[in-house]
Amino acid sequence: MKTGILSIGLVRGLLFQAAGFLAGVAVVTVIRLAFGMGFSAEPAIVLGAFFSAIGFMIGVGAFSGWFANALGKPAIPPEEVEEPSGFKRYLGVSYDHKVIGVQYGMLTIAALFLGGSFALIFRSELVAPGMQLIGLQQFNTLIGLHGMVAIVGMLLGGAALGNFLVPLLIGAKDMAFPRLNAFAFWLAVPAVVLVLSSMAAGGFDTGWTAYPPLSIFANMGMQLFFAGVVVFGWSSVLGALNIVATVLRMRAPGMSLFRMPIFVWGSLATSIIAMTATQLIGLSFQLVMFERLFGMGFFNPANGGNPILFQHLFWFYSHPAVYIFVLPGFAVISELLPVFARKPLFGYRWVAMSSLGIALVGFLVWAHHMFTSGMEEYLRVPFMYTTLLVAVPTGVKFFSWTGTLWEGKIRFTVPMLFVLGAMNVFLLGGLTGPILGTIPTDLHLHDSYFVVGHFHNTMFGGFVFPFIAAVHYWFPKITGRKMSDLLGRITFFILLPSFWIQTLGQMQVGLLGMRRRVADYDTLPEFQTTHIFITVAGFLVGLAFVIFMYNVIRSAMKGEVAVGNVWESRSPEWELLPNPAPKHNYPQPLVVTGDPYDYSLTDTEYVELVPVAGATD
């Protein structure tokens, strides 16, 4: 089918997802009836959920190459597959890492927009004590979905940056496994659908952390949430695996690990975490699913289980996860600062190693989310030590960034504004961490609104601001056009102060004793004024994001054409490639002839294309 709506992969995928869901429901129902048991909605929709994911993948066409391989038929090599032109190529399976990177990017922006919209709904409710707009169950579902959809958005954003940039930065034609790349991306789509469909099954009242026993007793929507997250986890793992293999195997000759652009280090460290730890959120959610479906006694003491076990398994992923969110952002900051300060990245090797350091230490701190959980007492103090230790490699990054700015020639382009904003906001996030990391102060602050302030600081500083910077920066390389400078500056000057107001408000009420995840609050102590500020600021943050989205879409269609090395960067994709970057990246292999960040040595080059025998240029 080459024409018509069914030729669009996404459409076919969604149709097959619905079909798969019904098939799963049917299978469970038939089996149950055959065994003399009646119809039960929950097991039916659980199998329906997993079948729906498989259905989607069949429909979109993500299995085709491997299926052929399995049957022993030769499959067209990924780089020779012909793809539709124009916008349509983004709506179906593509094996081109740049197309996949843009697909991830579009899904990122959609997820951030959707997750943010959920927040604005419940933030409107929180403007005054009492329930005016939505019900209690709806409130709880919305905060849970806001959390998970935003998390998904950030994971997709890291994948977007990694996929688009890593092959370009290391001089490769594509990723190590192009078909796996497409597969990993498309898995994310049915996963998001499943997570959102929890709203149709009664929602869930646990927040995104889904602690049992509450999650065992929650509505059926909980199962769809779990299923969606498990499927998304597989997407995350496979995408990360691809990046690790690509970085280790596909670098241009001469590009030793310590001569890669620094972004690749960040992506590598991120992917190592994503590839391993993610399995534990999948497993912990699956175990709750089994407890609900089969009565297995993992976490409910009434069944012989231990609720704290869930928290250990869950946070073993969910803490390193925050480094998955921010390490790509940090890497963007490290990558862009030299370009716009016109001097080398300070202490490149130390910055590179600090990404791995953060990843490593990040695996050792998870129980700081459990200081009040009633876990084994002897665990609390050691985890406090490891938690505070993370500040050391993070500090190395901050000091290196400051050292890069110092005595530079700073250019205040729009990407640079967002990079500086990122540093400023993450500074706040990083500084509000240790106060949560020492147990006695955490006894007061745990599960208060202060935590909400802290993690929004870190997420905005470590992901949102750098992501916007990266989109502005690499936009010409993606589309051949520039984003609107004016709109970019407007976005920034609305986003930064609004975010500050939002976060100071959140931290203030938290310190004063307001809990998180509450749909309502008393008239005393007087929290309402601050909540009005937080909500208004939140809407302004949303406005800034909408302006950004508008800027992206409009510039892609009608932006000023960008020719050449727009930012005067030494990086290979800017030095050696036109805008937009051509399909298989570099026409000839590139070779490393200098250091990546020698901006001060204006007559040196980082990379060159290997001259072709017999060519005249």
């Binding site: 709880n140 009242d205 602690y211 026993p213 509450l214 007793f217 310590f258 409910n300 003491p301 009434a302 231990n306 609720p307 300060a341 001097k343 080398p344 490149y348 009040t372 009633g374 103090v381 030590y385 505070l388 050391v392 500090g395 901050f398 000091f399 400051t402 700015l405 110092w406 005595e407 020639k409 700073i410 250019r411 205040f412 540093m423 400023n424 500074l427 706040l428 500084l431 509000t432 240790p434 020492t438 147990i439 006695p440 102060t441 007061h444 599960d447 208060s448 310190l511 004063l512 004793g513 809990r515 995840r517 250091d595 960040y597 901006y599 001060s600 040595l601 080059e605 001259p611 060519a615």
Partner: protein, 468 residues
Amino acid sequence: MNPNPRKILIASGNSLFGKGLMGLIAQRWKKDPPEIRLSRQMAETLEMMESWQPDLVIVDYDDTTIDRGEFLRSFVSGDQPMQVMLVSLQASGAVVVYDRRTLTPAQAEDWLSVPWVSPEEPDVSKEQRSSTMRHFVIAGILIVLVATIVYLLLNTIGILPAPASVEAGPIDQLFTAHFLAIAVLFALITVLMVYSMIVFRQRKGDNTPGRNIKGSTRLEIFWTLIPLVVVLYFSYLGSATLDRTNAQAPDALEVDVLGGQWYWSFTYPDWDITTNELWLPVDRPVLFRLRSADVIHSFWVPEWRVKQDLLPGENFVRELRVTPTEEGQFQLLCAEMCGVRHAYMVSPVYVVSQDEFNTWVNEQTQAIDLDPAARGQKWAQDAGCFSCHSIDGSDSIGPTWLGLYDSERELVSGETVEVDDDYLFTAIVDPDVHVAEGFRPGVMPQDYETRLTEEQIEDIIEFIESLE
């Protein structure tokens, strides 16, 4: 054995360079060993290039005795295939390869004009150093200023609720220590950033690059070790503060706390009292034994600073020790998401003088009302019934009790029942047997049969009856 081994010429005045490379190459290409010759002087190198015609010449880029111009001339003038590899050990192992046949004029020029790479930091002029010092001094003063302002701000704007427990003392001290660290670090980075943004911005028309600073190992070690020491110190502070918070008093007042969806219930084992309001005498250490009836909850009175989760299950009782130091009314908040009415799981806390507390205890133990309905109201209150059942007709999680007794109700099964004594008794001890239309099973706690005596349940039914 390959009859035509590759010929490699290594040119360096440093004998270690050549010998080292030779060894590496021999090890690397054991299967197909190339023929390697060393040359230590310019003239020798040129001569061998012409006569021996190596396939590859490896040149030590750091060797200042090599005349690049002459080498280049000789290199491009020959026409046998030859490649040259320029290796610089000092420029972080930089390696460049050129092929004789494809060497472009631009590349040749590059090679000739790149200065010898100097190790570590470039030569810093005196003006450069004093200018940098000036920047540091100004920035330093600003940092101290900003840090002081931020610290004073954090300490004076009353961002914590007034402390009301012994534990709050050391905890608030730790908060203060954190505020200091936050103020200093915030000032440090922000001042340096803003200073750079103003002083080191690129002026119009200036296209020169920034100063060539690639790094400084000394600085890196400094700003790794100092933070390491600081975080270890704060961990120690945290540990010491935790010890002070956990101090065990020998004769603490024991209170068993039961939290469930969405109520609190307090039992004082000393007097066998169960209430839904927490009354405590001031300045007396309390030992709370915390247990959940269903899901995870959490015990938090912000003015006391400490917090502890409640876990379900007989084997999961957790302890929390607090000594309230301020009289007054506080709120006990559930601080772990526990379901739909989590926001409303709040109970009042009354910290009173010892005398007032004794009075209250007496009231609780003695004045058991003679009127069963009044008693019933009290039992209902203590058992948390009013978290879900109103008595004024308003909607809530469970059916309102107003007008409930003797009414006719429809159940979800479709049948209609009369709400009499038997019905209400079953409804309390076995709630899911009859589920009223418009309500759901599995919400009401199932354990009232064990938590209430039969007389108490009958009193409650009397109370419900009284609500016409």
